[in-house]
Amino acid sequence: MTRLSLEHVSFWYPATDTPALADVSLEVAGGEVVALVGAVGAGASTLLLVAADLAPRVVGGRLEGAVDFRGRGNGEGGRGIVLPTPWTQVSGMAFTVWDEVAFGPANLGWPREQITRHVDRALARLDIAALRDREPATLSGGELQRVIIAGILAMDPALVLFDEPTAELDPAGARMLWRLVRSLAAEGKAVIVATSDLDALPDVADRVVWLEQGRAKKIGPPALLAEDALCAAGLGTAVAVVWRAGGLPRPYPLTVDDAVRLWRHR
């Protein structure tokens, strides 16, 4: 079932003439992971804000086209977005990590038992149950990032939007996050993720959207990340980029396993 549909969406930030998104059309179904890739300023974060109904409602600016979300507003059955800077997303109203994760569910007015159940599950999923009594201000960037993600997941949204979710995480944390993204999709949630961690996408994403100057230049399977045009734009996987730089013939391999297979059959 289509969870989110963007039809010919363009968006202008306040006091700008150049659109940050230009004529973007995209459908995302429940159970699907869609990755947004592109250079800085390509429009990935803006697309997430539009999908989260924060632009133009909160950000301001002007939107053209149609955004159709099949679900409720924020939180349970609705939309949840993890923004790229965890320290600006802390509520500042929590004594402990548990309280911080419970901030969103409490704002939804849930009964206490439901809040407790969802918060405990989110802490366990992010592997931060041991931090539950720590003061949020004492956490490292990576720990805080996990807490913020747990806070969004505890609200049980149907569409989860991640903006550079691995930026603050160490390699083990990033692997955990990508496993979590797949498990969210397995539960039927729709997931859109803007990321520079291109090497993770072949195992995580169902589709990849290449954004350039606000336009969706190409939409396709993760194999897109081994295409010559994306590699030339610096948006291929590391293996594909190295293969191309080595002057080896196409098709470029997407992953290390692909490279081994191709190398053996040369």
Partner: protein, 219 residues
């Protein structure tokens, strides 16, 4: 003191300020300023008393320039009471407890957050200013020495402090929206502070005291 219900702490600070302006000068002002400075001092010299006195000092200077001595003393005591009460309140009242108390009392989550965010603004800005000063020091700017270097350091502090605060306001608005703090939200109180009968009685007594002082002054 920090275990008192947030409304009791607010009532105490508000009553001190109200009485400072209602009671006749200089006796009333002296009594309230002594109480307020005593409360601020109870949080320690560096955390309570010194910030209150340092914040009130410029007001005394301006009053002394603009007014005669009796007026300066009367207004100065009242202003010092206000400053010391606020400094004490910021030191003892945790914003998170205030939100919980307001939500439990039936206030909307957005309104409660607005109150609490105002209370927490001073320590947040102070911490941010400290980080900016450290960053500027790493880049060779010294806030020590004569007037010239200090003014240069202040300029290098003010601009990033204001710009980063404005930028963070935008990001925080997005984050709070995405975490359900929307207009009209009915938040579930997670750990509402206990509101004992004795504290409620104290609050009503403070209100009665202020009303009595007002009636006495108007009579």
């Amino acid at each position: 003191m920090t275990r008192l219900h947030p409304f009791t702490l607010l009532a105490l600070a508000a009553a001190l300020v109200a009485l400072a302006w209602l009671l006749p000068a200089p006796g009333g002002g002296l009594a309230t300023v002594a109480a307020a400075l005593g409360l601020a001092g109870s949080r320690g010299l560096r955390r309570g008393l010194w910030p209150a006195l340092a914040t009130a000092a410029p007001f005394w200077l301006f009053l002394f320039i603009l007014h005669d001595v009796p007026t300066t003393v009367a207004l100065g005591l009242r202003i010092t009471t206000m400053v010391a009460s606020v400094v004490w309140l910021v030191a003892v009242l945790a914003p998170a407890r205030l939100v919980e108390a307001m939500v439990a009392a039936g206030w909307r989550a957005g309104t409660a957050y607005l109150f609490a965010a105002t209370l927490s603004a001073v320590p947040v800005l102070k911490a941010r200013a400290q980080r900016i000063v450290e960053a500027q020091r790493c880049r060779g700017l010294s806030p020590r020495g004569g007037l010239g270097p200090r003014v240069r350091a202040l300029r290098a502090l003010a601009l990033p402090l204001i710009l980063s605060a404005l930028h963070e306001v935008d990001e925080r608005a997005l984050a709070l929206e995405s975490r359900g703090l929307v207009p009209g939200a009915r938040r579930t109180p997670l750990a509402p502070p206990p509101d004992r009968g004795a504290e409620r009685a104290v609050r009503w007594a403070l209100v009665a005291l202020c009303v009595a002082a007002l009636v006495w002054r108007l009579a």
